[in-house]
């Protein structure tokens, strides 16, 4: 029972480590999932070598989308932005440690979609950024 709401998800939802915003920032991107009203903005600071030094997210939505954002940012600190381009949906699901149906998958993948759209400098975050490879 309650396997979707593992303690780690509830914990990151209730006490996120990376909530907030960065001003100034090097990369920022925001988007929403109109179906459920999840809205997330991600800010990054990147050093001259392309290494991510700081990250923050802001927004509102369900526990899955917010915990996914927090876990994702935690995992990318110190990584090169080139590495972000190789992150996949499975990386996010591994972080969350759960399996999701098609509806909730959208919530879980929203932060990665936003992160990648920001890193690629795209005009909009599209689903093909997080498609199964």
């Amino acid at each position: 029972m309650d396997d979707l709401y593992r303690e780690v998800i509830i914990e990151h939802y209730k006490n996120p480590g990376y909530r907030g915003s960065l001003d100034p920032h090097d990369i920022t991107f925001e988007d929403e999932n109109p179906l459920c009203g999840d809205h997330i903005k991600i800010d990054l600071r990147v050093d001259e070598n392309g290494k991510i030094t700081e990250a923050a997210f802001d927004g509102h939505g369900c526990a899955i989308s917010q915990a996914s954002a927090d876990l994702l940012l935690e995992s990318i600190i110190g990584k090169n932005i080139e590495d972000i381009k190789h992150l996949s949906r499975n990386d996010v699901l591994d972080l969350l440690g759960i399996e999701l149906g098609p509806v909730r998958l959208k919530c879980a993948l929203l932060p990665l979609k936003i992160l990648k759209a920001g890193v690629y400098g795209l005009g909009e975050a599209t689903d093909d950024l997080v498609e199964e490879e």
């Binding site: 309650d2 709401y5 509830i10 459920c36 009203g37 939505g61 526990a63 899955i64």
Partner: protein, 409 residues
């Protein structure tokens, strides 16, 4: 008459016995999205495919005649079910949405012109908003909306004011799929008539839940779907007064909707086939007929009474959950739709946790984004009750809502 026996009714619905995971019984509270189907409906469609499958209105062979007869008999029973005088006033469509689009694209296109006023309400489902927005863009119409009060009722004083501006059409939901509000349709229609407007009732949530008579309402159009009234998906109906349906141009072109076709012209068929192009959903129409038979046998007054009693108890119990708010709780007259919010917990999380306990509710904006915008909430969870729901199920829902609170405490 024997009292309504919900346990007996439940036996007619095989799906209510399933477990959604080992040891967890289904508690289905999403009938506003789609209702479950009794064996009688499932069997009627099976039997058609097993024994009488043929295309209608064409062949003269045994199967074609059987299929045609069943298809048309179902129409007659659907007409009777909503108090329509003539079966030819019932057009088969895919669903409520298509019924409304049909009116917008035929009657609307033919009879509405630049600057004409269409009155809708703030509580409409997207299916009674977007078709009119599309037409308004095309023809430069004016759309105005009867506001929803804080209690969840329509502001009828504002409606009266709008009527002074000579609307051509008043189109409204008989019952809100979010608030559960049952609107005073007869009064709204009578006032629209005296202002000279045509009326369209979105009956998607009313026809399944209580007795609706187009004769009593004096509605010009009534749109509804089979799948919300224990019938199959893929079929719905548009009732229209004969003189209106006769005056309107056809909808889609193709087979069956024509009387004669030449290379450069055609003559439309008579009612109701004028609006039914191509091979229709025959099995579904037969299933629709079986659904109407099933509801008639239970009696719509008995169904409505069961739901009213259960809803009253459910609202009382659910609203006691700490911090919980119900949208439209105080509406003057409401049906078994209970949309609610728990502070700090997203409706998707609520619905997902309830699902782990076998309870099926809907989460989101329920195809009524403007209404959620009005109340400044992105989404809500919605439990909807129907003729097979029980008080024990409501208790299970309430107990599980306490568990949700605990998890997020």
């Amino acid at each position: 008459m024997p009292a309504y026996n919900v346990e007996q009714v439940r036996k007619d619905f095989p799906i209510l016995d399933i477990e959604t995971r080992p040891g967890v019984k289904l508690v289905y509270m999403d009938s506003t999205a789609t209702a479950q189907k009794p064996l009688a409906v499932i069997e009627a469609m099976n039997e058609y495919y097993r024994y009488t499958n043929g295309n209608i209105h064409r062949g003269v062979h045994y199967l074609a005649e059987k299929a045609t007869a069943q298809y048309e008999e179902a129409r007659a029973r659907i007409a009777q079910f909503i108090g329509a005088e003539k079966p030819r006033e019932i057009i088969y469509t895919r669903n409520t949405t298509e019924s409304i689009n049909l009116v917008a694209q035929t009657w609307g296109r033919a009879f509405l012109k630049k600057g004409d006023l269409v009155i809708l309400t703030e509580m409409e489902h997207h299916s009674n908003l977007v078709p009119w927005q599309m037409l308004a863009q095309e023809k430069d119409l004016r759309l105005e909306f009867i506001p929803v009060t804080d209690e969840g009722d329509l502001d009828l004083a504002e409606y009266e004011r709008l009527l002074n501006e000579h609307p051509k059409l008043v189109a409204f939901a008989h019952m809100s799929n979010v608030l559960g509000t049952i609107n005073p349709a007869k009064e709204i229609i009578a006032k629209a008539k005296s202002a000279g407007a045509v009326t369209l009732v979105d009956g998607a949530q009313s026809v399944p839940h209580f007795k609706v008579s187009v004769k009593d309402l004096d509605a010009d159009f009534l749109a509804f779907s089979a799948h919300k009234m224990v019938g199959p998906t893929g079929i719905g109906a548009l009732y229209g007064k004969e003189e209106l349906l006769s005056a309107m141009p056809p909808y889609m072109g193709g087979g069956d909707m024509i009387k004669k076709v030449h290379l450069r012209s055609f003559t439309p068929n008579e009612l109701p086939w004028k609006y039914e192009a191509g091979t229709p959903a025959i099995a579904e129409a037969i299933g629709f007929g079986a659904a109407v038979d099933y509801l008639s046998k239970l009696g719509m007054d008995a169904v409505a009474e069961h739901e009213q009693n259960l809803t009253k108890k459910a609202v009382e119990k659910i609203k006691n959950v700490p911090g919980l708010t119900i949208m439209g709780e105080k509406a003057a007259h409401r049906g078994g739709v209970i949309s609610f919010m728990l502070p700090g917990i997203h409706p998707h999380d609520v619905a997902q946790i309830l699902d782990q306990y076998g309870i099926a509710v809907r989460a989101g904006h329920h195809c009524a984004m403007p209404l959620h915008e009005k109340y400044s909430i992105p989404a809500s969870s919605r439990a909807s009750l129907y003729l097979y729901n029980t008080e024990e199920e409501v208790d299970h829902l309430v107990a599980t809502l306490y568990k949700v609170l605990e998890m997020f405490a």
